[in-house]
Each structure stands twice: as structure tokens, then as C-alpha cells.
Symmetry: C2
Subunit: 377 residues, 2 copies
Amino acid sequence: MTLPNHFELLATDGTARAGRLTTPHGVVRTPAFMPVGTAGAMKGLYWREVRDAGADIVLGNTYHLMLRPGAERIAALGGLQRFTGWNGPMLTDSGGFQVMSLSELRKISENAVTFRSHIDGAMVELSPERSIEVQRLLGSDIAMQMDECVRLPAVRSDIERAMQLSLRWGERSRRAFETAPSGSMLFGIVQGGDVGELRKVSARGVVDTGFHGYAIGGLAVGEPQAVMLAMIEEVVPHLPADRPRYLMGVGTPEDLLEAIRRGIDMFDCVMPTRNGRHGLAFTRRGPVNLRNARHADDPRPLDEESAWPSTQSISRAYLHHLVKSGETLGAMLLSEINIAYYQRLMGDIRDAISRGTFDEFHELTRSEWARGDIAPR
Amino acid sequence: MTLPNHFELLATDGTARAGRLTTPHGVVRTPAFMPVGTAGAMKGLYWREVRDAGADIVLGNTYHLMLRPGAERIAALGGLQRFTGWNGPMLTDSGGFQVMSLSELRKISENAVTFRSHIDGAMVELSPERSIEVQRLLGSDIAMQMDECVRLPAVRSDIERAMQLSLRWGERSRRAFETAPSGSMLFGIVQGGDVGELRKVSARGVVDTGFHGYAIGGLAVGEPQAVMLAMIEEVVPHLPADRPRYLMGVGTPEDLLEAIRRGIDMFDCVMPTRNGRHGLAFTRRGPVNLRNARHADDPRPLDEESAWPSTQSISRAYLHHLVKSGETLGAMLLSEINIAYYQRLMGDIRDAISRGTFDEFHELTRSEWARGDIAPR
């Protein structure tokens, strides 16, 4: 049985697409960048800032939330939106990726992954069925199937084994999702590492299973950008045009621009907040490292032409001082500035696609990044 | 020559006073609590939140700012207000207290203190004259004389020596301040530890020198609250009634209430932000430790009757989760909640003094604190 479609394609420009995805907690304009609120909080930002910056949807990490404060507890408190105060759409991952990257003593079997909690040392089992149950308890608008993601480089046999397991787990996830509340969605995940042939097999298999939307997983895990883009080009033709496409865990502004050009609709990444905490600002003219001493006496803001108040008004000298001093305010301001930059970029891209001017926008944006930061004073 | 007076006494109620202090960057309603923005930033808060919470004035630490980013640099960038974006009154301490508490290899002489910077290891000399120069470069609205503060308990001879040195440094500070911009102020500091007799000698000496306002230093440094209050009672009768009185580095909400009752007009303390970072909320019904497991499943806010949005709406369960998870948002919210509580308390106190109902307010407030937090669910 085909799952209902909540995605509406509004415009295409070449392979790039603009659309809208309707979730129980509101509409998501695509292409969409989802800031990552790992453990029920966006590091360094108030939720109202995330909204003000232009984000329609955020991502929560099932792995973190199931361990603390616990899925059953969040359910009893009314679900993630009520618990956190973020009153918009929320996508949750399956938890599988973080089990692999964060927990020790993990053991993977056909049935499930078993791992030791990094919080209290307890042994926890996560199966595709339990992952769906947890995501449902969290009150997720978009749940992800459980999959196995392989770090690259990897040998083909490992990639293929994980890809096939992910297909079977996708089927189990879909069955487990059958009783989910109406309007909520489940996305399948295409795996296959950096092997084009396996990506095709996976895409066909995932589409055969049938989901509300389709994600490409297992990229941005160590491979060059060119490989990532090539894999997107392998997969996209096999995905149904009327369903949303989500590239997981990506990426830099350039990654986003190039992936959208190749037909991707959704992204998530910790980069804007994590890099912000480390003193890096994303700007119209490329990344700016505020730790650099060249900013110490510079009264100019990051970008005089920005519409975002902090980007347009706060001096580089002050940001430099905050970063060098390890002041929380530095992390707060740069996280906010970066989330706002990402959201502005997505908004501009959506406009360009709608107007049929994506190629010009793509070229102009890349040339501004290439100019680099303004000269020191 | 008597220094001009920028303080206006608006109401008294017993020994408690309400007034207004006019500075180059705006008016300060007293009693006033000054949040501490140590190194040019309020830890965990945007400046607009500090303002929204009701703070008229903040404190900046000369010691931190002179070492990083440097007083001359801040002057070149237009002064602290322009540098930080806090566009209101700012009081700066002399730097002496932090030299004693934070730096290693400090050496004190009649002329100056010499110390090793905790940032780059350089040897730095701070004299009363240099302290005034630094505070002027920072663009301070209210500068403090340099003094020597002795931790308690201490022997009388040490307390007396430091008190006498502080008197001489006060005279030098005042001379150095003579060419300061019109409208800016210099406060003298009464020392004398926990010895009432020395406090009296100090108060008379400081008043003889003559300042825009008078501070009581060297309290809240290890002595019981009763001793602190007794020392305030010793000093206040010797201070001119028409000048502002500032109790340095104090304190808990109870300290503030009791000190105001004894005639104090101004306070500063890191407690609301520091304790906020450690999971403690100040509320109408006393302090609440959000780390406590009793809050884990509690959907109720800290105080349903609070006018401050975060206090009134965010669940204890969420705050508990944020604190336990070490999320920045927890420190942000609790710092904001605490600054708002302190400012609300000061506003209520000002109103009560103006209405002549301070005694009733004092009793009611203490009885609400004594009730303690709401019962667990």
C-alpha cells in the first residue's frame, strides 16, 4: 500500500526543486536546512531564535533523548514539542548512527544493536521496532528507519552487508510504523557507501518498500565532496519525483548548494552551531575565523549588508574578544549568526528556484564565497 | 573641594532609601542590583535580556578587561559601551580585588600591586593612578578607588594596615580622577574588616577625602551574615545621607533585603549568573536546585505567578534535563531567570520604600522564602 504524500512540489529549475512538506506541527518550506537540537536543546540558542532565523523544522537525536531524559518520560510530559517549547515540526533520526559513533561495547545482530549507555553504563537494545516506538513516544513529525551506516573508506563487502541489512530493517521499520498517528511520516534511507552500483540497488529496494520520503545516508562520513555528489547523482534518478529527498548529516554551505542543484530537498548538520562554538562564522564571503588576531581591533561587523542584526551590527573586535575569552556569549552569538546564515541561504535558494534563476544564484553565490573575507584594516 | 552630587534621594522608609543616580549613560534607580559582566560579557545572557530583566546598570571588571582585550584597545574602539553593545551605565571596580584573588606572584607595596597576568604571564603593575586611568579608558560611568581587601578571618593588625593603605590609595585615586570627564563618578571604599572601630576610622577618613559615592568593601569575604550586617550598621551613620552607598560583592536575596533595610543603595554580585550555571534558581519561595531528581517528571514551571516568561512557562522537567545534560541552554535560562528575579526583587523593594511599606514587604518576602519550594508532585 502506498503511503499518503504530504509533499507538494512547487517549482523546479533544472534538477533543483522547491516545495512544501506538511507535517502535524506545521509546514516545511523546501529546500530546508534542519538545525540539530541533539538532546532536546539547540546548543547556544533559544528556540525563538531558531524560529526567527527562519528554520521551519529541527532535528532531535533519538539516541540522546532515549538515554536522557528517556522516551517514556518525554511522552508523559506531552512529547518533544511540549517538553522543549519548540512548537514546530521535528524530525528524529533512528538512533542507529549515534549508537555506532558514540557508544562503546556495541554489538550488531540481524535483530538489533545492543550497546552500553554513555550516561549510566546500562546495556540498551535498539531494534528497528524499538526505534520506531521511541520516535513515536517522542512525538516526532518525521521518523527515520533504522539503518546501518558505514564509515568511508570501507571495503565493498562491508558496505554491501550493511546496505542489505538496512533494507531489511527498513521493511521492519515500515511495518512497525503502520499504527503511527495520521500525518506523521517515515523516511527510508538509501545506503551503499561510495559504490554507485550498491547505491542503485539500495535506492530501488527502499523505494520498493515505500516510504513518505527518502533519505540518502552514509555520506559526509569521510569521503571527498566529489564522491558525495556523484553518489547523489546515482541515487536521485531512482527516487520518486513527488516525494521529499533528504541528505543526512550534510553539510557546508557549498555542500548544500551543490546537493540542491542535484535534486535534494532537506538537510541537517551540526556544523553551524558546532563551528560557531569554535569561533567560526559562515558569511556571504565565506567562513571567517574570529580567533584570528586580525579581528582584534576591527570595529566592522561580519557583514555590513546582512539583514541579520548580530551579523550586521556586532564588531569583529568584540566577537574576537568573546571567542578568545571563552565567553558563552561568543558561542551564543556565532551559533545564532551561523544558523541565520544557513537559513538565509536556504530562503534565497528557494526564491531563486521559484523564479527560475537558480543557475545565476549558484554562480553568484560561489563567486562571493571565492572572493573571501574583506581585507584587514 | 566637594565633588558634585548626581544622586537624588526620592524616599526613605526607616533607614531604607529609594533614589536615582544620574550617570553619563543614563539613570540608575536605587536600590540597584548590578549584574556582573566580568570580561565585557554577561555569562549566558544577551545584553538585551539584562536590560529587559530591569537592570539599569552593570559592573565590568577592570582586572579582566585590562588584561584582555586591554584598556587602550577598548578606548580605541569607543569605550566599553560601544565595544560590548551594552548601552547603559557601567560601574567598574578598581582591579585590586581580582589581583588579590586571581593572580599569582602578586606583590603589594605602598605604590602599587605587581602581579603576573593569568592570561599571558606578563608582569603587570597596577597603581591607584593606573587603575583610574584604565577605568577612564574603559569609559566607566562610576569608577572605584583602588583599595586592599583582606579575607576574613584576619588578625586586626593586617586589617588595620590594609585599611590605612586603602585610605592613602583613596586620596591618590581622587587626585588622579580630577581630570575625569564631567558627569562620571568616583566612589571611595570603606575597609576595616570585621572590626567596628576600624570601620568607623575608615568611614571618617574616606568621607574626609570626599567622593561622589561611598562603598563598603571587604565584606562577604568569609564572615557570617550577622557580622556583615553589624559592620553595615557601624558604617552607615558615618556616611553622608545625600550620597549613594554601595555594598560590594553582595549577595544573596536575603543579604540584599537586609542591607537595604540598613541603608544600602547599590549591590553587585556574580551569584545570580554563577549559581544559574550550576543549576540553581532563585524564586519567590527561595532557591530551587534543578539538579534534584524530584523535578525530572514535573511539568510545572518554577513559579506560576511570576511575570517573567521563562520562570512562568518553562517546565521544571525541561530545566532539570538541560542542567543534567550540561546543555548551554540550561545555563542561559537559569542565568536569565535569576537576573530577572533579582531585578524584580529590587523593583518591588523600590516600590515598597516609595509607598512607605518596606517593613511589610520585608516580612512578607522573608515569610515566602521561609515557606520553601512547592511540594513535589
